[in-house]
């Protein structure tokens, strides 16, 4: 028996798998986005809008991750976009190995923007690197502007925060500026976009930002 000092993160194997996957995808020109939020914040509606708006500009694919059912994948396919439903086998988040498996089944074409719609959960998905090149999170108006205070990690980890369902602002006590300030206090680099996927308000600003990040990615590949 011997004692071996490791000082390794418990999730070290996942971090390594994720870094490998990220490099591989880059060499294939695939831009992977990890889309995270609580359940019911409007991920699928937001994606549907984005797919319609980006049609003819860049190919978009969606990998839906849920514990069960294929309702989200069916909604995306109805728009004519390439989509796959992945199941996490009861797990509360996607990790790098599950993402690789989903991508192998999905077979996206080179040059595609692939959205990984993570399990609806504001906590666990933030802790696992999936191998994505960009992390985007959603916070919907009905959830409340205090969420950055309660669940800071996802705000700290994300490149962009979309405040969704802004068409519902008149009906909720949601302070847009307070939410923005709280998110920026946790992560001064985060890009904040208030949007309504229903009316389309604010979507163009987000899509321009996204295309800018996509171009920077393809140019560095």
């Amino acid at each position: 028996m011997k004692v071996i000092e490791l000082n390794k993160k418990a999730t070290a194997s996942n971090d390594r798998d994720a870094a490998l996957l990220r490099e591989e995808l880059k060499s294939r020109g695939l831009f992977l986005i990890n889309l995270m939020s609580a359940a019911g914040s409007g991920k699928t509606t937001f994606l549907s809008r984005t797919i319609k708006d980006l049609e003819g500009r860049v190919p978009v694919g969606v990998m839906e991750a849920d514990i069960a059912s294929d309702v989200d994948a069916a909604a995306i396919e109805a728009l004519g976009a390439k989509s796959i439903q992945a199941h996490t086998g009861g797990c509360c988040h996607m990790d790098a190995a599950m993402t690789r498996e989903a991508l192998d089944a999905f077979q996206p074409e080179g040059g595609m923007i692939v959205f990984l719609e993570n399990v609806g959960n504001l906590i666990c998905p933030a802790e696992y690197d999936t191998g994505a090149h960009l992390k985007i999170m959603l916070l919907s108006v009905p959830e409340g502007d205090d969420k950055p205070l309660k669940y800071p990690l996802m705000f700290e980890e994300s490149d962009a925060l979309l405040i969704t369902k802004t068409d519902a602002l008149p009906y909720f006590d949601f302070d847009l500026e307070a939410a923005r300030k709280r998110a920026l206090a946790l992560n001064p680099e985060i890009a904040v976009f208030p949007v309504s996927a229903k009316t389309g308000e604010g979507m163009a600003a987000f899509e321009d930002w996204l295309l800018g990040r996509y171009r920077a990615f393809t140019e560095s590949a």
Binding site: V3, A10, C124
Partner: protein
């Protein structure tokens, strides 16, 4: 379940280590778990005892958990304070410009193996 996800990766990391180091049996795994990591140690140990049976190298292992107290640093006044007691707001100068120094980790400190 949150703890289950971490255990799956922990087992993966340990199996990998065993392969690299040529180990056949790990008898003790010592983890450092931060006070605000969100890990509930009772659940965590139950998950471990269930999950280790799937990995021959971990089958007889015992999990030892060392709790790391959470500490926050205030960038306004430069002092450190206990996170769990005072939260995000600095108890000395009331600033909200504070950062967690430690207490969110889940690190494999050492293992006993052959």
């Amino acid at each position: 379940m949150h703890e289950m996800g971490i255990i799956i990766h922990l087992a993966g990391t340990l199996e990998e280590t065993a392969r690299e180091e040529g180990l056949t049996r790990i008898s003790r795994v010592t983890l450092e778990v931060g006070e605000v990591s969100g890990i509930i140690t009772d659940y965590f140990e139950d998950c471990w005892n269930y999950f280790k049976k799937r990995h021959p190298v971990l089958e007889d292992s015992r999990l030892e958990i060392l709790t790391i107290p959470a500490v926050t640093y205030c960038s306004a006044c430069g002092r450190e304070y206990e996170t769990v007691k005072y939260g995000r707001e600095c108890p000395y100068c009331k600033s909200g410009e504070t950062w967690l120094v430690r207490g969110n980790e889940c690190v494999i400190k050492e293992i006993e193996a052959e």
